[in-house]
Symmetry: C2
Subunit: 419 residues, 2 copies
């Protein structure tokens, strides 16, 4: 019967949460700030809830240095909900802009035929580097039709049909005037992370409008927010618990056209719960939000701000150091461990590798690791192998412990060498 201190959990998400945050959450569930009522019971319309939301927003903005012209939204539906939401909202906003252009000095009605013709050229651009960006593109195709989805690049091409690289930017086939260019900054399943902001997406006078999924590497490195129209992330990896998804969006992209206009154009609109403009107008309280999950995210942020006087930069150094420890241990035994992605695209967050010798050796690795309290290391069901998720709640000591075990397992007296 292990206690929390016996276990280091490297699962890909839901991920480990800091024990002190969970202790605060457990107490708050029963009696929040001596109100006689728990944090999950207080009304989402109460002053208590508003304070929890506003503090979490302020702390996130401070930690990540989010400019004032961005709005922070807490939403339902997870990352998969955002695959749809980003397509709906950025197409809607694109139509708003085209509508303004088409109106010019003309009447509103004569704008519709022009808009219909513009919609024929509507494109959403997707850079596909792993399972999650692939799913996002598939959702856009399903909702809008494949004629409106342009795959800018596919990480499987020129890599034997498998994800593990970020295609050379020179090969990217970007559309002119896309409603958005979408990519996944860190692919949790395939362990592929963009090393930095793509050069081809640097802002020019006409965009591009860049959207990124940062579900699994948010809060772990500095982000040039002002280069993005929007980013989003589920809470359950680096921020908190499952139940809220965060969108950070530049306010000028919020505006949506009327539902009637979109129907005239044959384009779908988001259900209200996925409409950014509605969620922003209601300070994330269009409908009942899980204040408990916002509370947990808020405590995680306060803890990060306390831990790192230089905010996310401090955590970035730590994340880098932890990842390096683990990758170096793997690289020390190239005959035993095979790191899946290209070196240039290696994720600091999800370290994916196979062990030579096949399933039996990998099972021995998992078993020996578990005996030391190192758990959650099994690879994704699609990819198999081993995946060590190195999120913020993994301490430097825990990363060292894993690195030591990786070395010991591969050493001449270790299990891998014996089998």
């Amino acid at each position: 019967m292990p206690s929390r201190s016996d276990i280091t959990y490297f699962g890909a998400g839901p991920a480990l949460l800091p024990t002190d945050v969970l202790e605060e959450a457990a107490a708050a569930l029963l009696n929040y700030n001596d109100t006689g009522l728990g944090v999950a019971e207080h009304s989402h319309r109460s002053a208590i809830a508003a304070t929890i939301i506003n503090e979490a927003k302020a702390d996130l903005a401070s930690y990540l240095d989010i400019p004032d012209d961005y709005e922070i939204l807490f939403m339902h539906g997870g990352g998969s909900g955002q695959f749809a939401a980003m397509a709906y909202n950025f197409v809607g906003n694109w139509v708003t802009r085209k509508h303004k252009e088409a109106q010019g000095s003309e009447s509103d009605e004569s704008a519709v035929p022009k808009l219909k013709s513009a919609v024929e050229n509507l494109k959403m651009d997707y850079i596909v580097t792993g399972g999650w960006s692939q799913k996002a593109a598939a959702e856009a195709e399903r909702l809008f039709g494949s004629e409106h989805v342009n795959i800018v690049a596919d990480g499987r091409k020129a890599n034997g049909g498998k994800y593990g690289t970020i295609p050379n930017e020179d090969t990217w086939n970007l559309s002119r005037d896309a409603a958005m260019v979408y990519y996944c900054d860190n692919e949790t399943v395939h362990g592929v992370e963009f090393p930095g902001f793509p050069k081809r997406l640097e802002p020019g006078p006409d965009g591009p409008i860049v959207v990124a999924d940062m579900s699994s590497n948010i809060l772990s490195r500095k982000i040039p927010i002002s280069k993005f129209a929007a980013i989003f992330f589920g809470a359950q990896k680096n921020l908190g618990s499952t139940g809220i998804t965060v969108v950070v969006i530049q306010k000028r992209f919020l505006q949506q056209p009327s539902a009637a206009l979109m129907r005239q154009l044959g384009l779908p609109i988001p259900p209200r719960i996925l409409e950014f403009e509605t969620i922003a107008k209601n300070n994330s309280l269009y409908n009942t939000l899980s204040i408990f999950d916002v509370f947990i995210a808020g405590r995680v942020l306060k803890r990060l701000l306390q831990q790192h006087p230089d905010k996310v930069q401090g955590q970035e150094l730590l994340s880098q150091k932890k990842a390096q420890l683990i990758y170096e241990a793997l690289e020390a035994y190239p005959d035993i461990y095979q790191i899946i992605p290209d070196k240039a695209a290696r994720s600091r967050m999800n370290i994916c590798f196979r062990i030579k010798g096949g399933d039996a050796v990998e099972e021995a690795f998992l078993k020996d690791a578990a005996a030391l309290g190192l758990t959650g290391l099994k690879g994704h069901r699609e990819l198999k192998g081993i995946r060590a998720s190195n999120y913020n709640s993994i301490s430097l000591e825990a990363a060292e412990k894993l690195a030591d075990f990786i070395r010991a397992f591969a050493s001449p007296s270790g299990t891998a060498a014996v089998e």
Copy 2:
């Protein structure tokens, strides 16, 4: 600094949760079943998560006597998400049926013009008896166009423009062959509850296909499930905590047409996270679900099953008794208290009333109640006045305490009489 035992919270939702359930949840957050890891940290793909989901489903089915040909889904997005989801999915399923009819001996392609002509007559029927059914109808109009939404009856008509009645069934203007007939079984804001299953909606050979929002009265009375195509409810009133929404749907209504066919017909499809067929196929794990919230719901259900050997019938008697205590106290002082809805449509769950004398007297009522630990009684911001939400976690003793206070406040020596 009150403790939980000092406070009885009558808020409309998120609602009071049983203290013993919260104590279990607090312990499980830190270390679930001696695994060394909390319930919110375990993977949603783990055997632990599957057990939590499957037990909650089985206990819900047992408590409510849900037949085997129904599927239970845990979803994201709250009740507002379901306003969209019900419209999308029941229209999709209606198209599936029309497609089968139109195919007959003909080729697939020749079916499309017939389907297009059928779609011209597509209707969703809404019985509007308060703010929530009104919002559901508005979402369907927004997504599909008002030509596809038929307001069967509106509780404001023949009631001075205010909700508070259920229109006589003889006046209901039901469509032939509607994709669904939708109503809200209990209107939380306006305190209007259907006394039982509507006679006009009794199943015949061709339907009707009945869908109901039971967010705020689920688990409080027996439901003739087999008369419904689907029901749904947010968890945060009678079932548990904000973060999951439950759909109980007859399996034969799950099937959806292809996205391409729906686009040809000019009809929207749900984003994946709101598509019942997808959620059902994945046992509610299409994407990351808050297992913590399912855990809480599961504990609430186990507690209800222990408390009531005759399951929901036992709770129904108790709910009725509690509501009667409070309404009788109000009725004893007709010069002081004015119950908002019609007697025939009074909610057992949300008891809405005004106090003669205006805002100042109502504020005195709230203040005096709070001094006794009776909180959360302020009416909805749209309706004002007082609302006592009498959900399952309000004990008989708590209802008695409120009834006693209602009498005391109105008695000759009470505050109402003095002012």
